[in-house]
């Protein structure tokens, strides 16, 4: 099984007025192609920090991050952006759709970083797959919460990433929509992608192949 994401002894601390917070404390993790890993843990345990470090958005203090055989933190800032576009898809709790763009254009924002002739065709395919075909011309404020998260999922998948990172994707969803999203993540893994899901929702772990637990910046088997 090819390793898609590997973290070795990653440290990350933050300085705050009330002292130093060790958000990641010697985190090591390996996720292979086709694997769906869920990390559970209470709020403030460092899950989002882990996700940012894995997502090439936050340079760790120490340790190694390898994604698809490359060490992205050794690249320049520009190259790192390109690397994210090519390899990583993000799904957030707050969806982070662009308010003024309709569903199709929102999905296509992923193509801003990685232009391709067939981007629109793929975007329409994803929209269809997520049952949003009739909503393609609507802006986020006109969508239901579930539709918004599916649009965000479509955007995350547009560039055919190897790694999908999801931060509390079900946090704002009802059970049915939450299940839909988790099914989709599982489907992505089944198709050969690697999924890292961080959540404090115990039910979400049920969809994963492997559940880990995070506490005070330390990762342990669930």
């Amino acid at each position: 099984m090819d390793t898609i994401l590997e973290l070795r002894d990653v440290q990350k601390h933050f300085r705050r007025p009330d002292g130093v917070v060790q958000a990641m404390d010697g985190v090591s993790l390996r996720i292979g192609a086709g694997e769906f890993v869920a990390v559970q843990g209470p709020s403030g345990s460092g899950k989002t920090t882990l996700l940012m470090a894995a997502g090439v958005l936050m340079q760790p203090d120490s340790g190694v991050v390898v994604i698809a055989g490359e060490e992205p933190y050794k690249l320049s800032a520009e190259q790192r952006a390109g690397f994210r576009a090519a390899h990583i898809g993000f799904v957030f709790q707050q969806f982070h759709l662009v308010h003024y763009l309709n569903v199709l254009d929102n999905v296509l924002t992923a193509a801003l970083a990685l232009p391709a002739d067939d981007a629109e065709e793929r975007a329409r395919g994803l929209i269809e797959r997520f049952g949003l075909a009739s909503r393609a011309g609507h802006v986020p404020s006109e969508l239901s919460i579930g539709e918004r998260q599916r649009a965000a999922l479509a955007r995350a998948l547009l560039n055919r990433p190897k790694l999908l990172l999801a931060d509390e994707p079900t946090g704002n969803l009802d059970e049915e929509n939450g299940r839909l999203v988790l099914d989709c993540l599982a489907g992505f893994a089944k198709d050969g992608g690697a999924v890292l899901l961080v959540t404090h929702d115990p039910k979400a772990a049920g969809f994963s192949h492997r559940a880990l637990r995070m506490e005070n910046g330390k990762l342990a088997a669930g």
Binding site: T48, L57, A77, E78, A81, R84, A85, F92, H96, L101
Partner: protein
């Protein structure tokens, strides 16, 4: 999908914020175009006013010149050129010169183009008895003007054709002669060509006939005894000057002044002209003072307006960047480059500048009635306003591009 489409969609979504930016560019460009157009309009008005004044002056001068011509004709001529040996005492006692010179002198004078003289009229004049009527008259042989400057010059006295006679008032009244009547003078027959009005001078007892005929009748072939010369160049052309010039060309002549009123008139005319010139000059100065005041006002107003506009756009851009933090964060996470984010905001500023420039130009033009379309100015504002807007948005755009996506995404 590209940054341009993103910019357009965002502008359409946040119309008010964009419109506020456009409005400030519009105001600045409108002020600039209006100020420039009003200065141009000022110049145009000045030209009009000055041209009108000049036309008015010209007209007055022409009227004066007309008067001058008419009066000069009635008075006689400015200088009289006589043979050198002519005693002036005899001239005044006899009413005519008793010495003679060749008629060719007149031609010579004309050919030498004396600058101070405009008209040359040779004559042969003698007091004679009109044997057929028993009267004493002044017989004047004239050949009309010897032209100096070609056909454009209007002759001052029409020459009297051979066989024709022009009579002074005293003569035609006393003899009861009409135009077309025939009369005999020293054995020759003449047809009355013209009757002069009473002038109260010796002209009243003068009979004008053709010069050649007079020369034959008086036995003075090829001879004249006076050249009337009219100076109308200007009041500065004083007698000594004229005299010196003429005596250089015709050494055995003398020049005496004649009818100095004409010169006085010319002086008046010149003074009037100078006065009119001065009035125009004063008007010009007044207008130019007004212009420099307007210019100074614009010079103070414009930088203020431009600065105000830039600050306003800068604040709007900053507000826009703050409002779009989440969007910036997610776009950066998706791999959009910092440079693209910079352009996302600069492009918006440029669009604001172009829209404001077009509207502002149109409004500025419309506000000043009769302002001409100026492609150069339009091009300048269409290039300048977006540049200004982009510069004003530069710092906010840079802030947007440098924002840390991890920070944003964690907080939002």
């Amino acid at each position: 999908m590209n940054i341009g489409r993103l910019i357009i969609c965002e502008i359409l979504f946040r119309k008010l914020s964009f419109a506020l930016g456009v409005l400030s560019v519009f105001a600045a460009v409108g002020c600039l175009v209006g100020a420039l157009a009003s200065l141009r309009e000022h110049d145009r008005r000045t030209e009009q006013i000055i041209a009108a004044k000049q036309a008015e002056t010209q007209e007055k001068m022409e009227l004066l010149a007309d008067d001058y011509r008419r009066i000069t004709l009635k008075l006689g001529f400015n200088v009289l050129i006589l043979p050198k040996d002519q005693k002036l005492g005899d001239l005044f006692a006899d009413d005519y010169a008793t010495k003679y010179m060749p008629e060719e002198y007149a031609t010579r004078l004309a050919k030498s183009r004396v600058a101070t003289i405009n008209h040359i009229l040779p004559s042969l004049q003698q007091k004679v008895k009109w044997p057929e009527t028993g009267r004493t008259i002044l017989l004047m042989g004239v050949r009309g003007e010897v032209y100096m400057r070609g056909a454009g010059q209007k002759p001052l006295l029409e020459p009297v054709q051979a066989g024709k006679i022009v009579l002074g008032a005293e003569l035609h009244q006393g003899l009861k002669l009409k135009v077309g009547d025939t009369t005999r003078l020293m054995g020759r027959e003449f047809t009355v060509a013209k009757l002069n009005e009473e002038r109260g001078t010796k002209d009243d007892i003068t009979a004008w006939i053709n010069l050649a005929e007079a020369q034959a009748m008086l036995g003075k072939e090829g001879q004249i005894n006076g050249i009337l010369a009219l100076d109308c160049t200007c009041a500065d052309a004083r007698l000594p000057l004229i005299r010196a010039e003429i005596e250089k060309i015709l050494p055995d002549t003398q020049v005496i002044e004649f009818a100095s009123q004409a010169i006085a008139r010319a002086e008046t005319r010149n003074r009037a002209a100078a006065e009119a010139e001065a009035a125009i000059e004063r008007e010009k100065q007044g207008r130019s003072l007004l212009r420099s005041e307007r210019e100074a006002f614009a010079a103070v107003l414009m930088p203020l307006v431009v600065l105000g506009c830039a600050v306003w756009i800068g604040f709007l851009a900053l507000a826009n960047v703050r409002e779009r933090r989440g969007e910036i964060g997610v776009l950066r996470a998706l791999g959009v480059r910092a440079r693209q984010i910079l352009w996302l905001f600069l492009g918006r500023a440029v669009a604001m500048g172009v829209a404001g420039a077009c509207l502002g130009y149109a409004a500025g033009q419309a506000a000043i009635a009769g302002a001409e379309f100026n492609v150069l100015l339009l091009a300048a504002v269409i290039a300048g306003a977006p540049l200004l807007a982009a510069l004003a948005s530069w710092i906010p755009a840079l802030l947007a591009a440098q924002q840390d996506p991890a920070d944003i995404l964690r907080q939002e």
